[in-house]
Structures are given as structure tokens and as C-alpha cells.
Symmetry: C2
């Protein structure tokens, strides 16, 4: 019944819509608040303490210069520390400061609460369907190749 093309259509209109809501929920532009991409970096670092820049940019799906600048901002805000280990001075290590952890948790809880409030409009069964679908989408779109297909061939 539902063809891939139809799902693709739905995706094309729905994802930016939800993304916009997410952004607003996090009140991105307000000074001192966290943007969605920043939030993602904080979450990643909370799970991978000491990761280097390439790790982060690969996982988030952004180019390294982009990530480098973004980390600048996070360090400036005091949410992330950056360290050059003497044993391998090429690979910087990154991690969350105490402030960064607090900010991440607070943003996550707030966003979860608001998202949950919106999802509460659905029945339990519908929510299960949504959860299941998001799971599958996450798997499908996690294939890094998709994101990296435009990168330079050597």
C-alpha cells in the first residue's frame, strides 16, 4: 500500500517540520541556550569521553572544519574541554566539563518532556508504532555511507 516513494514524500515534509519544532523547543538562538547540533555534540561526548575531532564530525555527519568551529564555540562557553595529548599531538581529545554535562542533561530533559507532551496526543498503540518506526529509520539512516557519499574520492 505505502510505496517507498510515498514514504519519501512524507519524510520530506515531516522531518523539517519536526526539526523546526525541536529547534524552537530548545529556543536555539537565545543566548546561553543550546542549539540542536550543539546538543548532539554534547550527547556524543557524554558517551565518548576523550573522542577526537574526526570521531565527532564523522558521527554527527558534518565536515571537520565545521565541527572545529562548533567545538570552538562549545569550549568558549565552557561546556567542552579540548586537550592535546603529548603522546599523539595530532589527535585532540574532547570531553564535557561539569557545566557541559549539566547543560546537556537539562536540555535533554526539557526537550524530552516537551516532545513527550506532544506525543501524548497519540494513543498508546500509535506511540508504539511511532517508536518502532523511528527505530527503523534510525537504523536505515545511520549508514554513514549515505551521508558521506559526497566526500572526495582519493
Amino acid at each position: 500500500m505505502t510505496t517507498p516513494l510515498e514514504s519519501a514524500n512524507r519524510l520530506l515534509e515531516t522531518i523539517p517540520l519536526i526539526m523546526g519544532t525541536l529547534r524552537h523547543e530548545m529556543r536555539s538562538r537565545r543566548p546561553g541556550e543550546v542549539s540542536v547540533p550543539q546538543f548532539r555534540v554534547l550527547v556524543f561526548l557524554s558517551l565518548h569521553d576523550g573522542a577526537n575531532l574526526s570521531d565527532v564530525s564523522n558521527h554527527i555527519g558534518l565536515m571537520r572544519p565545521t565541527m572545529s568551529k562548533m567545538v570552538d564555540g562549545l569550549v568558549r562557553r565552557g561546556w567542552v574541554w579540548r586537550r592535546i595529548p603529548p603522546e599523539n599531538r595530532r589527535c585532540v581529545q574532547l570531553g564535557l566539563t561539569a557545566d557541559g554535562q549539566a547543560v546537556m542533561k537539562q536540555a535533554r530533559d526539557e526537550a524530552r518532556r516537551r516532545m513527550a507532551r506532544m506525543l501524548a496526543a497519540l494513543t498508546a498503540e500509535e506511540q508504539a508504532t511511532v517508536g518502532c518506526a523511528l527505530d527503523m529509520l534510525c537504523r536505515v539512516f545511520s549508514r554513514r555511507d549515505g551521508n558521506a557519499s559526497h566526500r572526495k574520492k582519493k
Copy 2:
């Protein structure tokens, strides 16, 4: 089984992931290509010929100055026309040019094709679940109040 909080978590990691893929698929930054927000405006205008700026910014969920600038860019590229009707010089009318229609269709078809190719990794039943879930999410997140809740109270 799946609580709203869990779905919210999944949402928080999945939506930006898919959004990034979408952006890359459209190869946004490449000169002459369409960005995702631009694409959304083109789609909206293709369905609402002659809409005014407030209509567009409300629907897309952006502030009017933001949309005004974005429309500037679209007009500059020759994809959108802007007209001040003599009968009400305050409400500009916006619409797609022939070029704009072509660009929109081409971008839509290309994106659909690529999304469909990724979704093809799922079984027919899984795709049906995804389509159904996106439908519900679209309904839930279309409540403009959610997006507009930060706007100034008069």
C-alpha cells in the same frame, strides 16, 4: 511498552540524523542547488500560488524577517516572483516562476528517489509502519501553537 519519554529520546536522535541526510542529498551548499528550507518554500508556493509573506513564514515556521531574506534569495535566483498588488499594497503576492517550478520538481524527484532507495532497505510491512508513523507525527507537529509558543504576547 514504548513510553512517550522513550519515543521523545528516539525522536531527538533520529530527526537530526535524517535531516542531515536530507541536506546532503540535496547537496545544499553547492551553488545553484536548493537547500532544504528553500525547497520547502518552493513546495508551499507551488500549492499556494499568490500567497503572501506571512502565509509562507507561518507555514514554514520561521519569523517574517527570516522569510523575507530567504525570498530575496529565491527571487534573485529567478525561482520566485514577488508582486505588490495595487488593490492592497501591503500584502505582497509570491509565486513560482517556470524555473522555480522546474527546480522544485527536479529537487523533489531527486530527493524522493534517494530517500526511496534508502527506505527500500525495509520490508513492505516496515515501510507501511514508517509511512503510518510519519503521518501521525505530521499531524502532531502541525499544530502551529507548538512552533509559535515563543512568539511575543501582545
